[in-house]
């Protein structure tokens, strides 16, 4: 390890014998600083190669750094990637060239010359601590990662609905929650095009909206049934047999808890306490509460809703 720049200089004249001479020398250019590029760079650098990691955006990390969980293990994405981000930043064998693009490559194996165009950053990289204060204080609200935003497309009917929801719930700061609640109430879920439109209208990033939408139990990103059945799983209802109600209802309707029937008639979910503890076990269909529900009552209740 630690051969540094000399290797590259050495490499140039001895291009023909390279393969036979020394397997562990040479320099490598990695294009793209996502998780694959980072991991390749780290492996190569640990094996003794000098690595140049070129990345188009101002920072390495790519898509994985924006994820909450990774498939299929549901591992926390940041827990996996952040040590690698730090590792590749500190590694003596890795040169990070961010905010830059590869313009051209010349030469042959063992002796390449790469032309890299580095975009100006207008920030002193040595002094910046990444505190974020400049972004918040920028008067023209410039986004640090210039996202190419297309004109958000939305059906005219939806647009009118959303515009009136936005108007009714205009509380200045803190409008997002009431707006999402109104959208959820109107559509029964949060349709993707609608929240994308809201994101552009309220100038809240889509990932922030996604954060909110997945944090709360009552928001859904997929369509729900026409009638929402909530089986209370509060302590009292639990003690009085709410689990059996859930089991019976799910087997009658052929769904899992949290699921929706195929004909979109019912959605079934477990509710946290609905505050009807004195009448446990209780269930709520849409806004109507039923108390002291027996297993044999369920089919009668379902018949009330089409």
């Amino acid at each position: 390890m630690g051969h540094g720049n000399n290797i590259m200089a050495e490499m140039k004249p001895e291009k023909k014998n390279m393969a036979t001479e020394s397997a562990k020398s040479g320099a490598v250019l990695v294009v793209g600083g996502g998780i694959a590029g980072i991991q390749s760079s780290l492996d190569l650098a640990d094996s003794g190669y000098k690595v140049y990691l070129v990345e188009k955006t101002p920072a390495i990390g790519g898509t994985m750094a924006q994820l909450d969980k990774t498939f299929p293990t549901n591992d926390c994405a940041m827990c996996v990637i952040s040590p690698k981000l730090v590792g590749s930043g500190r590694h003596l064998n890795i040169d990070l060239i961010t905010n830059a693009e590869v313009m051209g490559i010349e030469g042959e194996a063992g002796n390449f010359t790469v032309k890299v165009k580095r975009h100006p950053r207008y920030v002193d990289v040595e002094a910046c601590t990444g505190c974020g204060a400049c972004v918040q204080n920028c008067p023209v609200n410039m986004i640090i990662y210039p996202v190419e935003q297309d004109e958000v497309e939305i059906k005219r009917k939806d647009r009118d609905t959303v515009l009136s929801i936005l108007e009714e719930n205009d509380h200045g700061e803190g409008s997002l929650m009431p707006v999402l609640q109104a959208v959820d109430k109107h559509y029964g879920y949060l349709p993707e095009d609608v929240i994308t439109y809201i994101s552009s209208k309220l100038s809240v990033s889509l990932s922030d909206i996604y954060n909110i939408a997945t944090f709360y139990n009552s928001f859904s990103l997929v369509p729900k049934g026409r009638h929402k059945i909530s089986i209370c799983m509060g302590t009292t209802c639990y003690v009085k047999g709410a689990e059996k109600l859930m089991q019976k209802l799910c087997s009658d309707l052929g769904v899992e808890p949290g699921g929706t029937t195929e004909d979109m008639r019912f959605s079934v979910e477990a509710a946290r306490c609905i505050g009807c503890c004195s009448l446990a076990p209780a269930i709520m269909v849409n806004d109507k509460v039923y108390g002291r529900v027996k297993l044999t009552d369920l089919s009668g209740i379902l018949k009330e809703y089409e």
Partner: protein, 634 residues
């Protein structure tokens, strides 16, 4: 100047008394969620139809919940000049016969729960109903003689079930907004805070922090804007007093918040209600409109120069939003994770302004304290815990409902005198207080006086006042597992100790309830519980181990039975029980076989049935549906 405002209140009071005590029958139906869930809506419709059809001279109105939810739907009948009667467990048919009887000039006494000769006002004062029909209802217990009500002292619930919740006139007729007028015209905000401090009121939401002190801190932070918030994100399973207050008496919360706003010089307030309470939101919204229309909210209230307004914000189903910093994040519309304190909200809260958050019940107490005085309030209760507390007495107990009792009353009085004990000849096993942050207390602690300190010393907490009674058929290990399942699901995931600690504890408890416990499990749970308590940022993580720690403390033998012998003494853990058919009592009705979701029961009509243990998923449906007690659980 204030004369004009006094006159305005006087005229509202006259109108309110007129609608509460008209010169004809007043029939009122308890229309809170608990009433509606048992059919109060249908009863109301039937009464309406009956009155229209028979043409009897009566007004019909809806009230909140009287607290005795076991007896819902409840219908009150006020006889002009005579007593007020409370009918329990009404049905549409009974409603029709009530109207028919009234049209014949008769007053039925079937289904009568009690008779009110007086209407209790705050403190010891009463309003006499007059002695009409004296002697006619001698056989019926007076309101104060009904065991469920006898030991109660209603302050926060003073108007619930008595007034029409969306009638500002009736609220004023019960001395509402009088304290506000008096304070805004004659007293400074510092005097107001002193009065609240004198009362000894502590937060009713769970923390139990002295309210007056919190207000003082909020006022003492320099700022151009301050906020007050009503925390109605009542997430603790097993507690619903906040819902009842919002549905039954929203004006008391509004008046409390205006007083709080004046005390802390805040001009804006938020009521944060959870989404599971649609009716509470509806009634609160209507009450706010009424208060605005009467000039109690808005600019220059009562000519004092003080301006204040309220907004409702709804949660969307996240338990952690009941935590104050998380709740404020939710109002701001950012990710509702809690944050470290300090700074406390009183220094830097909503949008970094000093903010005061109190629970619904706390706010509802404020007008009463200012109307009667701090000394009056502090005379009730124990040395460290003043006043009364509302408990939701639920679970396997005869009389379920909301009870408001003076602090210091014993658990035994609440469960066995007010609650009437355990039904079906079962044994009392434990009472769970304080929801997922609280603990389970055993029979040996029944004589424990209930106040903040005593409960904490016993390993539980007062919390928001949930009191879930469990009989011998509930397994405490399973209950501990249930609460960990809840907190594990609701943990926001910010602190590792809470996110992963709850998961680990849940896994161990699940294993124990499945009969795969290891001898070292209990000690590890104790150690882990202590670590999670110490290392978590907010109340959720700091208290989530309480249900486990308290059940280990009081029911260690049950843990041991699960771990060492793989048996569940309560026959509640389904992995540890078997269901079989008792051949002597089985009549071969086929009901169990038809209901079995796993098709594990076989048998012909009029023949003894058989449960295939290999297919049985132990759901217990057969046990529940059997009409002949022929299913045996071992």
């Amino acid at each position: 100047m204030s004369n004009k405002y006094t006159q305005h209140l006087d005229s509202l009071e006259v109108a309110g008394l007129g609608s509460m005590y008209p010169e004809r029958f007043r029939i009122s139906v308890g229309m809170a969620t608990c009433g509606l869930a048992t059919g109060a809506g249908e009863v109301f419709q039937q009464l309406r139809k009956g009155i229209d059809k028979t043409g009897i001279d009566a007004v019909l109105s809806g009230t909140g919940c009287l607290g005795f939810c076991q007896m819902e739907p409840v219908v009150d009948l006020y006889i002009p000049g005579g007593p007020r009667l409370t009918y329990a467990e009404m049905t549409p048919d009974k409603a029709t016969s009530l109207i028919d009887a009234l049209s014949r000039g008769d007053i039925p006494t079937d289904d009568l729960l009690c008779v009110h000769r007086t209407e209790s006002l705050l403190g010891d004062s009463f309003r006499d109903y007059g002695s009409g029909d004296a002697g006619k209802f001698d056989g019926v217990p007076l309101y104060t003689q009904v065991p469920f009500f006898a030991k109660q002292n209603k302050i926060a619930l003073r108007n619930c079930g008595v007034i029409d919740p969306v009638s500002i006139e009736e609220y004023v007729a019960r001395s509402g907004y009088r304290a506000l007028l008096e304070v805004l015209t004659n007293r400074t905000n510092r005097e107001l805070i002193e009065e609240v401090k004198k009362s000894g009121l502590r937060g009713r939401g769970g923390g139990g922090f002295p309210t007056g002190l919190k207000w003082e801190y909020t006022l003492s932070t320099e700022a151009d804007e301050r906020y007050v918030i009503c925390n109605a994100d009542e997430g603790d399973p097993g507690a619903y007093m906040d819902r009842s207050v919002l549905e039954g008496d929203p004006h008391s919360v509004i008046e409390g918040m205006i007083l709080g706003g004046y005390a802390m010089q805040a001009s804006k307030g938020f009521v944060y209600v959870r989404t599971e309470y649609p009716l509470a939101v509806e009634r609160m919204a209507e009450a706010i409109v009424q208060a605005r229309a009467n000039g109690f909210l808005g600019e220059d209230i009562f000519g004092s120069g003080f301006s204040f307004d309220l907004q409702i914000r709804q949660g969307s189903g996240a338990f952690v939003c009941g935590e104050e910093t998380s709740l404020m994040h939710s109002i701001e519309g950012v990710s509702p994770e809690p944050r470290n304190r300090p700074p406390f909200p009183s220094e830097s809260g909503l949008w970094e302004k000093p903010t005061n958050i109190n629970n619904v019940e706390t706010w509802a107490n404020i007008p009463a304290i200012l109307f009667k005085g701090g000394d009056w309030f502090s005379a009730i209760g124990t040395e460290n815990s003043k006043g009364t507390k509302v408990f939701s007495l639920v679970g396997t107990v005869r009389n379920t409902g909301l009870v408001e009792v003076p602090m210091g009353i014993t658990l035994r009085e609440i469960i066995f005198e007010i609650g009437g004990g355990i039904p079906d000849d079962k044994e009392f096993k434990a009472v769970q207080t304080g929801g997922p942050s609280g603990g389970c207390l055993p029979a040996s602690l029944l004589d424990l006086p209930v106040d903040y300190q005593q409960l904490a010393e016993a390993g539980s907490i007062m919390g928001s006042g949930g009191m879930v009674v469990m009989d011998e058929t509930s397994c405490v290990v399973d209950i501990a597992r249930y609460f960990l399942d809840f907190t594990n699901d609701e943990s926001c995931g910010k602190c590792t100790s809470c996110r992963d600690g709850s998961e680990l504890m849940l896994n161990i408890l699940t294993r124990i309830t499945q009969g795969h416990g290891k001898p070292e499990d209990v000690d590890f749970l104790l150690e882990l519980g202590a670590a999670v308590t110490d290392a978590s940022q907010c109340g959720l993580g700091q208290t989530l181990a309480n249900p486990v720690l308290s059940t280990i403390r009081y029911f260690r033998d049950e843990y041991d039975a699960h771990i060492e012998q793989a048996i569940c003494p309560a026959h509640a853990c389904k992995e540890l029980v078997t269901y079989s058919v008792n051949p002597d009592t089985c009549t071969g009705c086929t009901l169990c076989a038809r209901n079995c979701p796993a098709a594990a029961i076989s048998g012909k009509v009029k023949e003894v049935h058989y449960i295939d243990q290999g297919n049985c998923i132990k759901c217990g449906l057969c046990y529940d549906v059997c009409n002949f007690n022929a299913i045996v659980v071992e």
